[in-house]
Symmetry: C2
């Protein structure tokens, strides 16, 4: 029996690697016979947003396979046919909604004995429409027909989610007849069972957020009053199914794991959770679809960050648990409080970004990347990630020394490139900087004659260097096919606006924009220990203090160190972490001890200076956030503009607040 299971999963993996044959399908069908009643194929696929034909081609292949091997059911992620998220596209180009319905109907026709759950955008096609024009729906297909429809009730509209912009929440939980396609309304709720019978088993089907609202699990603090799972449980389905498209973020695995386990245990009902995989723009979906049995115990879990067809039978104990990214398992039982410990999150971080890069390139048709290699940490980690994501042969690293650039920076960059096997060359920016400066000096003089506001000290020289480098990289991108330049800014520096517009922060993609500097150091060490090629990153790069090598520090005569211009990265990153994860404000932070303070003496004046600098710089960095290239969201919170929106003109916010007395006296002065 156990041997049979092993063989089943071997054969399943054949399908994943596109090596399944008629023979292997026949063998699999035979082996699955004892598990047929209640068998489910979890189709963890990677769709393209709006590319219905591409998505349909996958759906059809998985359905065909499921039918060939005689499964009861095959389930796909949320909005599979359209890809999630599709955002406002459905409003401006309604034809793609019409198309997805046409495709859905044709896909229904190929279903015979296996039932398929396929997510799609459902137009609400009636006169006197109240509400938004669309539902986020799942169709239950079998016997050549659309048997029934399930509509999403809880619409996440926060962070990276914008469901409520163009989707109407369904007032009804669970299944409605297939004939209601496009014509469902609260006035037309069809009585009868809201769960679905497939062969001998009943299924309570919900969509993503619908299962994230258990009042008990969330300590009575929930986003919605309706709990669709609670509603479905009243009909006592044999199994819950949740079709999902849930991106990975730091600490989310812990939440998801425990919540799904809690639900299945609470209702003594197994839950099958099928998640999208792959990245769409800034959101990276981790897959890791899973099944918990009726006791809340994990029965099966699909791989992370890869497409997979996972066969399970929750009634007969059929399921395989593939590992999470290393380190994540140990976080599942941690207290819910976030910690600043990076180690358990590094493989997830790595895979999240790798997938983000790969899918951005694949889905936009780009193949190659070019980036500046400064010998510093940011560009180094970007180079490693790119090599692993799109292949070393598709990455070109360019060392672009100026007169400030040290010999070590050049040799470190060359060594890194050689270790990675990426292409490498050196191209001096000296001539460009000189010519630009010559041209600009005259121009500046002319401007100064009219405007009496020239800075005594400016960052103009620093920026000319960074922009000259970007000019080279964009030049290569323009001259060679399918080639994107890479923006190497990290999260700590973006918070501080310590990044040059049209310089290092410009590019077609920004791989590490959601990774703070101290985590990058940890990631660099992790990469050296865990990649197939060990120690690709020269130790010297990890040991050196970060600095942009754009200016000389007059005090030392050496290139300026970033921490001197900003503050210690360990301190900076903890401010960011406290704001993003604990929503702390200025005085919260001033009055509590930072990790940095445990090992370093920091005077109160110094701490105030750093906190003031942080808020001052962040307020003026908002514009830079708004023009940041596409990136991958990695952390539990980010500054990615598709995740976090703050008006640029909000630079007048007082993050410290005022006392009641101060407010009172200010009001009195306003009255004068």
């Amino acid at each position: 029996m156990e041997q049979d299971k092993e063989r089943i999963y071997k054969l399943c993996e054949l399908f994943d690697s596109k090596e399944a044959s008629k023979e292997s399908e026949e063998e699999l069908k035979e082996l699955l016979k004892p598990y047929k009643d209640g068998s489910i194929g979890i189709a963890q696929i990677n769709p393209k947003a709006g590319d219905i034909e591409y998505n349909a081609s996958k759906i059809v292949k998985y359905i065909s396979h499921a039918q060939n091997i005689g499964l009861d059911l095959v389930v796909f992620p949320e909005l599979t046919l359209m890809g999630y998220p599709i955002e406002d596209t459905i409003d401006r180009h309604p034809i793609i909604v019409e198309e997805n319905v046409k495709w859905l109907k044709e896909i229904a026709r190929i279903t015979t004995t296996t039932t398929a759950l396929v997510g799609f955008v459902e137009p609400r096609l009636y006169n006197n429409l109240t509400g938004k024009k669309y539902y986020n729906s799942v169709a239950v297909l079998s016997g050549g027909k659309i048997q029934s429809i399930i509509r999403k009730s809880l619409l996440p509209t926060y962070s990276e989610f914008n469901d409520y912009r163009y989707i109407e929440p369904s007032p009804v939980v669970g299944s409605q007849p297939g004939e209601t396609l496009g014509n469902f309304d609260v006035d037309k709720v069809v009585d009868g069972s809201k769960i679905n019978l497939v062969n001998s088993k009943t299924y309570g089907i919900s969509i993503c957020e619908d299962c994230w609202n258990n009042k008990e699990f969330f300590n009575d603090t929930t986003l919605y009053s309706l709990d669709p799972i609670e509603e479905l449980s009243k009909e006592k389905p044999d199994v819950f199914i949740n079709c999902s498209a849930s991106p990975t973020r730091a600490k989310k695995e812990q939440l998801k794991h425990n919540m799904l386990s809690f639900i299945s245990k609470k209702y003594s009902t197994p839950i099958v959770y099928v998640n999208q995989v792959g990245a769409i723009d800034n959101s990276s979906f981790d897959g890791s679809s899973r099944v918990f049995d009726g006791d809340g115990k994990l029965l099966a879990r699909a791989k992370s960050f890869t497409e997979q067809f996972l066969i399970v039978n929750p009634h007969k104990g059929l399921g395989k648990i593939y590992p999470l990214t290393k380190g994540l398992e140990q976080t599942l039982t941690e207290a819910k409080i976030y910690t600043l410990e990076y180690e358990p999150d590094l493989e997830r971080t790595y895979k999240t970004i790798i997938q983000g890069i790969r899918d951005y390139f694949n889905k936009t048709g780009f193949k190659r990347a070019v980036l500046g290699l400064s010998g510093g940490l940011d560009s180094t980690v970007c180079a490693v990630l790119l090599a692993d994501a799109i292949g070393a042969e598709n990455v070109f690293g360019v060392s672009m020394p100026s007169k400030i650039t040290s010999k070590e920076s050049k040799s470190d960059a060359a060594e890194l490139a050689s270790n990675l096997g990426i292409h490498f060359t050196e191209a001096s920016i000296k001539d460009m900087v000189e010519t630009t400066n010559n041209s600009l000096q005259n121009l500046f003089k002319t401007v100064e004659e009219k405007w009496n506001c020239r800075y005594k000290e400016s960052f103009t020289q620093d920026n000319i260097q960074a922009r000259s480098r970007a000019m080279f990289l964009w030049g290569i991108s323009n001259e060679f096919a399918s080639c994107l330049p890479i923006a190497t800014s990290d999260k700590s520096e973006l918070y501080m606006g310590y990044a040059t517009i049209n310089g290092d922060m410009s590019g077609g993609f920004a791989p590490i924009a959601d990774v703070p500097k101290t985590k990058l150091f940890a990631l660099a060490r992790w990469l050296n220990n865990n990649r197939h090629v060990k120690n690709a990153i020269p130790e010297a790069i990890i040991l050196k203090k970060p600095g942009a090598e754009l200016a000389i520090d007059p005090k030392t005569g050496k290139p300026l160190i970033a921490e001197d211009a900003l503050m210690p990265y360990e301190f900076l990153d903890e401010i960011i972490w406290r704001i993003e994860n604990k929503k702390e404000h200025y005085y919260d932070m001033l009055s509590s001890e930072f990790l940095y303070e445990k090992n370093n003496a920091v005077s109160k004046e110094q701490k105030i200076q750093w906190l003031d600098k942080f808020y001052r710089r962040m307020s003026t960095a908002l514009y830079k956030w708004s023009i940041l290239p596409p990136s991958v969201i990695v952390d539990s919170r980010s500054i990615n503009k598709y995740d976090y929106k703050q008006p640029i003109t909000s630079s007048g916010i007082n993050y410290k607040g005022l006392s009641q007395d101060d407010i009172e006296s200010k009001i009195l002065s306003f009255m004068k």
Copy 2:
């Protein structure tokens, strides 16, 4: 009596121009005595997002004035204390919500005999919270206390609006006691009247979107099932008040005017609509607050695009109608169908952008602008708008000729600058382009050795020119205080991706990113006819065919004309207009006649070629939209990323769709 009214408005304007004195207030109070019962001051103010102290200073001044002149009521726009929109800021920095409550309580204390309606973000401070953490509320302040609270029920979440991200819709319409501040819940609805008594009159108060859901007016197609105005009408208030923050967009005035008139007439109840003015980032609020009497007739309307304190009494016919921007009045009675006629919208367009620029600069602390003057239409119109928005002395135009640049381009630019009175200089990019090319040729050779994918024809040369210019402009911005470079891309070109990254599309602000080229031509003519200085734009600039002067057309030996690279702008702009306003798709457009076709013979092949080119280019322009600098939304729809979101990786969308037969045969092929 009429003379008194004239005098009242004279004295009101004194306050607006900050010239009110104790004496003028006394005189006003005296004149207002016959109008006191039911008198309302409409405080049309321009807040800063999140700058509570700044906003409070205005609120306090207006309340004091209202009390000094003995008004019954003074009403402020939606979320006045916080500024609208504040977006996700309240979630990440909850301290600003605490602050706005502290300020609100202190402001309440200064109210004596006049009642003030002040918008604020209300935290929902209870255990076991269901829903989002905040309400969008209005406090009714008088007698030193918060008398009652009104919460917004309908939350716009589409286009530029994101209310539902962090705001909970109120299940209860109308007024609840002041003691419920922060502790209101559906379980705790307090019985009693939902309208407010102020002296002798009752008021039904609602917030913005709450009054945009009349089923009759919108032909039974509404976004929400609840109609707060209908609910309030049941208690027969003497007046409706709507506190609003509603940005201007093309054709919106028509909708707003007719809807408010309809509501007041339907319920035989006057409506007072107070709107925010000023711009916050990409949204420009037009003010134009207004009052309709109980017959649906316009009684008063505040000025557009400027702060104002407008005094009205709907019961006694006190009110003054200030004009809309020229041309708009004639559109009010037009059929609802959008038209491509630009003329009536030009002054509104002008003022919308002027305000957008001015407030972006003011609210971020910038003062000066530098832009490239090519002698072409885009940079020309930008220069005029900048001169009018921030003052000619604060604008520097730089002509940056290359070897392709014609003499005329240089002299046209110089003439324009002189007409406008802006600063002007010339700075050749020849050296920079040459040096960059020299550096790049070697680099390209090295890359070519590794990557066998160099383009035979590329845009590298074009882009180097555009980027060299941006390098100059950003250099000036870095070297001189409070100076922003300007991105001059227009809407037509952004749709086509016909703009250079880090070149003409880079800048601190993009004034005309939502103005299509053909409208820009109309706007240029309008500016020449309507500005204080006539004909500032040289006729030659308006007459020349647009082209970037970045490359020579091998066919003509002259600089390439944009329309040859793209398609006729008249045709292009109609595609954009049809998609944005009528949601037409490929075949809709192929089968209907364009205005361009009325005057030009266009073969079907040609039309197909243009449409194909449009969709192909638009699909790859999505990335450029995502990194576009802040801009002003002008049209009824836009590509501004804070207004329209489409995944960049959705480039696989088939905008033509497929026939059912095609889909069927494709599905069969996928099954193989």
